[in-house]
Symmetry: C2
Subunit: 421 residues, 2 copies
C-alpha cells in the first residue's frame, strides 16, 4: 500500500447527537482498520438531516480517500444515507432484485411490517452489496471520483460483524502492501513508563514501528510492520514483539487479546483448574466480566455476591463476630471470602473482593480502598489497594477486578503474586 | 433563547481514532445539552495533530455558534487544544497565577512528576477558568468572533463533572429563554408504537414539543418546553407529561431516570423490601447493574451466580435430578432458582434467570431463549422469553435483565406481572 488511505467515518443519527446512544461503531471500525494499517483521521457524527449530511460528505471528500458511513440505512430514516451518498457522487439508486426478493420473503413471512422496507433494496448503481445476515438493511460499497465509499447499518450488532465480514476484506484488496500489527497488553505499569522504556527503539525504528497506548485500566504496546506479503510482515514483526515481551517480562498479560480475563480463562483451561468468586463492592461485576466471554463455563463454576454482612455470614459462613470486629472492609474478611467461596463451590481457586467503591465512605477507610484476595490450594494471598478517592465508582470497581485477574494470571503463570507489596 | 445556539463538540485524541477508547464525553455532554434545549449538530473526532485540529476548528466556526472541545489539555499532549483554539481566534495564552500556584503545590507534594505540568496553567487571555477538582488540567471558556468556546479535559471522570458544574451554568446564562425537558422512560412497547400513539399530539404541538427516542433495550418520550422562566416552562410541561404518562399507563417505568433498575430500587425502598438474585446466563450482570447504583445495599442483600449445574445444586440446593430431567434452561429450574435464593438470602423477593445467551446453543433451545422468574411472598412468576437468535450475547443478557427488573417493577407497583403471556 504505497498510497496512504486516509479514512473518515461518518455516523448518521440524531440519537447520537442527543446522547441517547454511544458511538461504538466508529470505535470498533477504527480499531479493525488500525490493525490493517489504514489510518482513520476523522470521525464525524451528524443528524438525520439531508443538507447537513451532504455538507459532511463533501468535507470528507476533500480530506479523506475512504469514506465509511454508519447508520441511516433503515426504513424509518427514509434511507437517508444511501440517497445522500449517491447524490454526492452523482449516482442513481436502483433496485437490487436479490435484496428485493429477500425483503419480499420477509414481509410475506410476517417479519417486517412496513412497505418502506422495500426501499432498503434500492442501492447505488454498480455498487457491491453487503448482505445483512444480522438484520435487514443491506450495506454496500462503491468507488467513484477516486474515493472509496462503504455504507454500514447503524446497530452495532449489525455494523460490526458486517464490517468484519465484508468491509475489511474489501479494503484489504486495495493494497499492494500488507500491514500487520500486533499488540502486547500490559498491566501493572503505565503508558508513560512503557513509553520511557522503549524511547530508543521508537526513535530508531521505521519499519516495524512501535507505540504505546493507554486503555482505561491498563495499556498496550503496538508493533506494526509493512511488507509485500502478510508472511513477510509477520517475519519482520516477530523478533521485535519477542524482544519487547522479554523486556516487559511479567507485566505482559497477552498478545492481541481484548482483556486480562481472556488470558485468565486460557491459563485456567491450560491447567485444567476452576475458580469461583465472592464479591462485595464489585457486586457481581467480576463474575459478569468473566462470563462476558463465551465458554467461561469450562473454568468458572459460580460465585456469590455478598453485598451485606448478613449474607457474608449466612451464605459464605464467615464468622459474624470477625466481621463485626475487623469490619467488612478488611484484610481478614477478604481472606475469609476467598477461602470460603473456594470451599463452597469446590473450586481450585477462590477469589474475594471487599472495599469502598464510593461515593460514600465508611468513616474508616478512604474511598478506593479495596482488599482483593485469592485462595489457592497452597496459600491465600491478600492485597490492599488504594485506587484513589477521586476515582469514579465504576473505575474503582473495574480496577479492583483487574487486580484480581492479574493476581490469578500471576499465580497461574508462576510469577510472584505479591510483587507490589 | 430566541437565538438558536448550534453546537459542535470536537474531541481531540489519536486514541479515539485508533478505537482504543470510546467517545463517551460527546455523548454525555450532548445529553446534558439536549435537556436545556441546546442543539448539538455535529460531533467531530480528530487526532493530536495541530494542522488537522485547526482545520476542524475552522469548519466548526463556519457552522456552529458554540464549540466545545474535549481532550488535549494534559501535559503529554503539549496542550494542543488550548494552543490551537487560541490561535484560531487570534488569542494569546497567558499564565494563570492561581492555577500555577496550585500546580506548584502539587509538584512540591510529589503528586505530579513532569515540569510540563506547568504548561497547564497557560490559558487563553481573558478566559473564564474552570478549576479541575477531578484531575489537574483546568478547563476554560471564552467568547470571541461571536462564538462561544468551552474546553474540557478528556478523561470522562474529569470531563463530565466539570461540564456539569461549570459548562452547563455557563451556557444557561446565555439565554433569555429557559428550556426544560422531561422524559418518560418506557419498557414493553417500542419506539415506533409510541410514535404511532402520539402522532396527533406531535403534529399539533409546537411548545411544548414531544418526541420518542429509542434506547438500546427500551425507549423514551421526551417533552420539551420553552418559556421566560424555568417555573413557567415547568408549568407548561406538567399537564403534557401527565397526559402522556396516563396514556402509556403501566409501560412507563419512570420520569427522568437513567434505567429501570433505578426505579426498582426506589420501589423497594418505598415498600421496605429486599431482594436477592440467582443468575445463570447473565453471570452476575443482574447484580452488577443493580450495584452500579450507589445505595443499592439498602435493598439488595446479595446473590449467587450458578454458572454450572453443580453450583445450582450445591449452593442453591436445587434437586440435581430435576435439573437433569428438565434441563438447566427450563421453566422448572428458573422457578426453583428464584425460590431457593429468596430462601437462602432471606429476602422478600428472589429473582432467577437461566437461558442461552449464545453464541453456542444447547441443541434444544434457540439462542436467546431465557426463563426469568420472580419469587414473592405470595407467588412465583416465571416468564419464557425469546429474545432472538440473531441478537448478540451482550444484548440477550441485558434484555433478560431488563425483563426481570420490569417484572419486579410491575409487582411492586401492583400491575399485572403476566401481561405479556
Amino acid at each position: 500500500m504505497n498510497k496512504v488511505y486516509n479514512t473518515e467515518i461518518i455516523s448518521v443519527g440524531t440519537e447520537l447527537l442527543l446522547g441517547h446512544v454511544t458511538n461504538t461503531d466508529s470505535r470498533d471500525i477504527s480499531e479493525m482498520l488500525s490493525k490493517i494499517g489504514i489510518n482513520v483521521k476523522y470521525h464525524t457524527v451528524v443528524g438525520d438531516n439531508p443538507e447537513r449530511l451532504l455538507d459532511c460528505v463533501n468535507i470528507a471528500k476533500s480530506r479523506a480517500d475512504i469514506i465509511i458511513t454508519t447508520g441511516g440505512l433503515g426504513p424509518t430514516c427514509d434511507d437517508l444515507t444511501k440517497l445522500i451518498l449517491a447524490k454526492a457522487f452523482g449516482l442513481e439508486l436502483e433496485k437490487n432484485q436479490a435484496e428485493y426478493d429477500l425483503i419480499y420473503d420477509y414481509i410475506r413471512g410476517g417479519k417486517l411490517v412496513s412497505p418502506n422496507n422495500y426501499s432498503q433494496a434500492m442501492l447505488p448503481q454498480g455498487c457491491t452489496v453487503f448482505h445483512n445476515y444480522w438484520g435487514t438493511a443491506p450495506g454496500c460499497a462503491f468507488e467513484a471520483e477516486n474515493k472509496i465509499v462503504l455504507m454500514m447499518p447503524g446497530p452495532p450488532q449489525e455494523c460490526v460483524p458486517m464490517f468484519r465480514q465484508y468491509g475489511l476484506p474489501y479494503l484489504r484488496k486495495l493494497s499492494d502492501e500488507q500491514i500487520v500489527s500486533h499488540s502486547l497488553r500490559i498491566f501493572g505499569i503505565g503508558e508513560s513508563s512503557v513509553d520511557f522504556m522503549f524511547r530508543d527503539e521508537m526513535n530508531s525504528m521505521t519499519n516495524p514501528t512501535m507505540a504505546p497506548y493507554a486503555k482505561e485500566c491498563d495499556c498496550l504496546l503496538q508493533v506494526t510492520a509493512k511488507a509485500e506479503s502478510v508472511e513477510e510482515a509477520e517475519k519482520m514483526i516477530r523478533p521485535v514483539i519477542n524482544d519487547a515481551a522479554k523486556k516487559l517480562g511479567e507485566f505482559v498479560y497477552g498478545e492481541d487479546i481484548e482483556c486480562i480475563e481472556e488470558r485468565v480463562i486460557e491459563l485456567l483451561k491450560e491447567k485444567n483448574m476452576t475458580f469461583s468468586t465472592a464479591e462485595s463492592c464489585t457486586g457481581g461485576e467480576l463474575a459478569k466480566r468473566f462470563t462476558d466471554i463465551p465458554g467461561a463455563s469450562a473454568v468458572f463454576k459460580g460465585g456469590v455476591v455478598t453485598y451485606t454482612n448478613e449474607i457474608k455470614a449466612r451464605v459464605l459462613g464467615i464468622d459474624a463476630e470477625l466481621i463485626e470486629e475487623k469490619g467488612a472492609v478488611s484484610y481478614e474478611v477478604a481472606k475469609e471470602m476467598a477461602e470460603k467461596v473456594r470451599e463452597l463451590c469446590s473450586t481450585d481457586i477462590g477469589v474475594g473482593v471487599t472495599g469502598l467503591a464510593g461515593p460514600d465512605g465508611d468513616g474508616v477507610h478512604e474511598v478506593g480502598t479495596v482488599f482483593v484476595s485469592m485462595a489457592t490450594p497452597e496459600k491465600t494471598y491478600v492485597k490492599e489497594l488504594h485506587i484513589g478517592d477521586w476515582r469514579t465508582r465504576s473505575f474503582i470497581r473495574r480496577m479492583a477486578g483487574n487486580h484480581i485477574y492479574d493476581m490469578m494470571r500471576r499465580y497461574l503463570s508462576g510469577y510472584n503474586v505479591e510483587w507490589s507489596r
